[in-house]
């Protein structure tokens, strides 16, 4: 009985456990370098694009294992147009931002239209998009690099030297705002847990055991606190983290708590049944890809801000990072299952492996090999454990 419990716990939390072990491995191998404040901070800033793109990609994958191969090119194209507008055409940055979001969403809608209403297979449609928008990026930039100078824009979207949330206390060497934010996050989390439990008990629903809830709450709080501590010891909360947090919270809420979210799972689970239950399945496909375009635009801005320039080669392989994170994070290659939280774990796992290998100075070719094997391993695990369930 106890053994079965342990097994089911491991099964339900495989990727979290894997994350813990892999992190521990790198802490050991790098002599603790990987958890230095600066590295923790970089882990977020460097991988911010993956978190955002993977969240959007999850919606596409939910509809039935469909992927969007064009995101890397769209990121680049949106960044290229934005940079050109701001630097070469002297357009106000606010207008440029709105324009970039509109372009990205329009590109998403364009692809979504073919996929949803004409039923062009997503793989082909977005492969075409990948070529089209990579080419157009070159056209817009004339093959050259455009440097960004607008500091407000750069700071807001997580780039430059000063891409951190301002500390209102101004202590030397310790970013108190960050620590307080972390504590606040813990308090909110605990409050929601307790409130949910009280509500459940009141209505006479089943609640999980108190012990389980306590252990989980303590662990999650400790992780948040430790994380905030490391960030406070560096320069505080990177602005990119704010963007990521907003995206993750909003999309996590949509997928788990709204009718729209449920429709995504239904379409991926059984499209025919969904259609005959009154769900407009075409609309769901359309929304998934339009939204992907919107998030790609957001990442486009984050990318040019971070690199303070736009180049025709930006965003390459971003789609692969996003797709990989989704599958590692437990999304099914056939659609219908997967969570935003899982995808974030998947992206973190990839980020930790990346950073760990860089610190360990693993040859970059071998890095690719290892990342590929991790992805394959995760999917094999998913397929095999599903088979066993049947």
């Amino acid at each position: 009985m106890n053994r079965a419990k342990v097994m089911s716990f491991i099964k339900a939390n495989t990727m979290i456990i894997a994350l813990v072990f892999i992190s521990a491995f790198f802490v050991w191998q790098t002599g603790g370098k990987i958890i230095l404040p600066q590295n923790v901070s970089n882990l977020i800033s460097q991988n911010a694009y993956v978190f955002v793109l993977a969240t959007g990609m999850l919606l596409c994958i939910l509809t039935g294992g469909n992927i969007d191969l064009s995101v890397g090119s769209v990121v680049c194209f949106v960044g290229a147009t934005g940079a050109t507008l701001m630097e070469n055409k002297d357009v106000n940055w606010v207008i440029a931002v709105i324009f970039m979001l509109i372009i990205g969403t329009a590109i998403g809608a364009w692809q979504g239209f073919w996929i949803a209403y004409v039923r062009v297979p997503p793989f082909i449609c977005t492969l075409a998009g990948m070529l089209i928008f990579r080419g157009l990026s070159n056209v817009v930039l004339d093959g050259l690099t455009v440097s960004l100078t607008n500091t407000t824009f750069i700071k807001l979207f997580g780039g430059g030297a000063d891409c951190y949330v301002r500390d209102i206390f101004g202590m030397d060497g310790f970013h108190l705002t960050t620590m307080l934010t972390g504590i606040l996050a813990c308090v909110i989390y605990l409050f929601l847990q307790i409130q949910g439990r009280i509500k459940k008990t009141k209505k006479g629903y089943e609640t999980e055991s108190l012990k389980k809830m306590l252990i989980r709450s303590v662990i999650i709080s400790l992780v948040i606190l430790a994380f905030s501590l490391q960030l406070s010891r560096h320069k505080g909360i990177p602005t990119a983290l704010v963007i990521v947090a907003v995206v993750v919270l909003v999309y996590g809420y949509i997928t788990s708590k709204t009718i729209l979210g449920r429709h995504f799972y239904a379409v991926g689970g059984n499209e025919k049944a969904a259609r005959l239950s009154g769900i407009d399945t075409n609309r769901i496909y359309f929304i998934a890809y339009t939204n992907m375009g919107f998030l790609a635009a957001l990442v486009g801005m984050m990318t040019i801000a971070r690199l303070t320039s736009a180049q025709p080669s930006y965003g390459q392989n971003y789609e692969m990072d996003a797709i990989g994170s989704c599958f590692i994070g437990g999304a099914s290659a056939y659609g219908g299952t997967g969570k935003v939280s899982g995808v974030i774990i998947g992206a973190l796992l990839m980020g930790v492996i990346n950073m760990g290998m860089i610190i360990m100075r693993v040859d970059s070719n071998w890095q690719k090999v290892i990342k590929g094997l991790v992805l394959l391993g995760a999917v094999i695990f998913d397929v095999v454990s599903k088979k066993k369930n049947n």
Binding site: T258, I259, R262, Y265, G269, A273, R275, L276, S277, G278
Partner: protein
């Protein structure tokens, strides 16, 4: 006394946690048709999988004697070599391969690196003629009807030199005419010395074809009835299967008041979604009143499902014309969600394929067609959803430990009830039930019938589409008979017999030919 061809002795097979078979005995004589009956999950298919080597020797206990010899089959190839060929319930033909390619798949003619296609197609044609098919073996499998595909499966078995043919519910997806043809074919092969084991749920077929009937219940052999010795009646078989006699298979409705017309269609025409000149539904007019159960009888492909779906928010077909009235008011249902809003429900046939989301929980399946009923401004109230699922589980008697369980883990009957629950939650006034009892056991069927009676007692209307004539006759106040997209007859339930319904259908199809 004929020779015993197959004897399975004390077969016991356990899956983790479940004893699927315990000490099952089966004796089949050469040249007989032996049927296996039992409720869903009784162990019939498991027994046949043991026999054919799908569950290899060593994974079960007991002995199999075939042709007097003890056999140790480790895979299907072993049993097929001996002439034991199993035809599974789900057809295993590959749609984009020709009949010939399908027939010799895994058994190719010629050499491994030089397949002899001329020989393949020549032999395939011969086997097709043996089962009475005139098609060329170069036809793609997808281009022939399901009934013919089943015959191709049989000719495929013959091509493997079958001596003992095992058919797992071969007529499940066939209409009455096709089923009869298939059974007659088996009778003809029997004369030529072929032995068959038939798993079936259809009692009329069993009494028509079987020499012996072995009843399996809860993984045990209950009895073997011999046509030559025992008098076999349907009630007798049912009693063996469920361990009790279902005296009244179709519960009576009492004091149900039939009111005004709830749904009425006039001059309904529907064209095929792809072949634009192909008229699927031809000038159909029909109605159903409050408190009434109306049946639509007809053969597979008569257009019953297409009619239902075209009415249900135009979910099938093109260029739909005609008028649709609900409670006397003409409405235009543009899509499924508007049909649901107008209190119409269509409980789909094939619950696994287009009814339920098997990987989702019962709870999520139940709320799916009426998510706005458990949410506020687009945000789902998880507590409300859970409660709704609990209520539906209670009222429809869905047997499951929790409503969080995946729908895919339920038995067929409980899946069907979950599907019904989903539509009950949309609070419909008119329900169209498409094959609501296909592939579920006798006990679950009775429960579904009870639910139908409950529905009309509450003043709702039910349109029942079913391929089982007995069911339509037993349950309906009125029956429309459909053939080739037209209504070819209407009979009152009390006057309906299988003979007069079939007569309506056959007269029309003869005319058409």
């Amino acid at each position: 006394m004929a020779k015993v061809l197959l004897e399975m002795k004390d077969i016991t097979k356990t899956f983790p946690g479940v004893k699927a078979l315990s000490n099952v005995n089966l004796k089949v004589e050469e040249g007989e048709i032996h049927t296996l009956v039992g409720e869903n999950g009784a162990g019939k298919s498991t027994l046949m999988n043991v026999l054919s080597g799908i569950y290899p020797y060593g994974s079960y206990e007991g002995d199999i004697f075939y042709d007097g010899k003890l056999c140790h089959f480790t895979n299907i190839k072993d049993s097929e070599e001996k002439g034991i060929v199993i035809i599974h319930q789900e057809l295993a033909l590959i749609p984009y391969m020709t009949i010939g390619e399908n027939m010799f798949l895994g058994n190719e003619r010629g050499r491994a690196f030089a397949i002899d296609w001329d020989e393949t197609y020549d032999m395939a044609d011969k086997y097709l003629r043996m089962v009475g098919l005139e098609e060329s073996s170069r036809t793609l499998a997808k281009d022939i009807s399901v009934g013919k595909q089943q015959l191709v499966e049989i000719s495929k078995a013959l091509a493997k030199n079958a001596k003992l043919l095992i058919l797992d519910e071969p007529t499940a997806s066939l209409n009455e005419k096709e089923s009869k043809a298939l059974l007659d074919l088996l009778l003809q092969f029997k004369k030529e010395g072929l032995t068959s084991i038939l798993i079936s749920h259809k009692l009329n077929e069993i009494s028509y074809i079987a020499d012996k009937i072995t009843v399996i219940r809860d993984g045990m052999t209950i009895e073997t009835l011999d046509k030559a010795v025992d008098t076999i009646t349907e009630d007798r078989i049912i009693r063996g299967m469920v361990g009790r006699s279902i005296s009244d298979r179709f519960p009576k409705r009492e004091n149900v008041k039939i009111g005004d017309k709830a749904l009425e269609i006039e001059n309904w025409n529907v064209y095929h979604p792809i072949y634009e000149n192909h008229k699927i539904i031809n000038n159909v007019s029909m109605n159903v009143k409050k408190g009434e159960v109306v049946g639509i009888a007809g053969l597979m492909g008569a257009g019953r499902t297409e009619l239902a779906m075209s009415v249900f928010g135009k979910s099938y077909g093109k260029d739909i014309t005609g008028t649709l009235k609900l409670n006397g008011n003409e409405v235009n249902l543009k899509n499924v969600s508007s049909a649901i809003k107008h209190k119409l429900a269509y409980v789909t046939e094939d619950r696994k394929d287009n009814g339920l989301i098997l990987m989702n929980s019962i709870k999520h399946n139940v709320s799916l067609a009426n998510l706005s009923g458990v949410s506020n401004k687009g945000i789902i109230d998880a507590d409300k959803e859970y409660n709704v699922a609990l209520q539906q589980r209670e009222s429809l008697n869905i047997k499951c430990p929790t409503v969080e369980q995946n729908a895919g883990n339920l038995s067929g009957g409980n899946q069907q009830k979950t599907l019904l629950a989903k539509w009950m939650f949309t609070e419909p006034e008119v329900l169209i039930l498409d094959e609501p009892t296909r592939g579920i056991d006798v006990g679950a069927k009775a429960e579904i019938y009870g639910i139908i009676n409950q529905l009309v007692a509450e003043g709702r209307s039910v349109i029942l589409i079913s391929s089982e004539l007995q069911e339509v006759i037993g349950m309906c106040d009125r029956i429309y008979i459909m053939e080739s997209g037209k209504i070819v007859g209407e009979v009152a339930g009390a006057e309906a017999t299988q003979e007069n319904i079939m007569a309506h259908i056959l007269r029309t199809s003869n005319k058409g030919a």
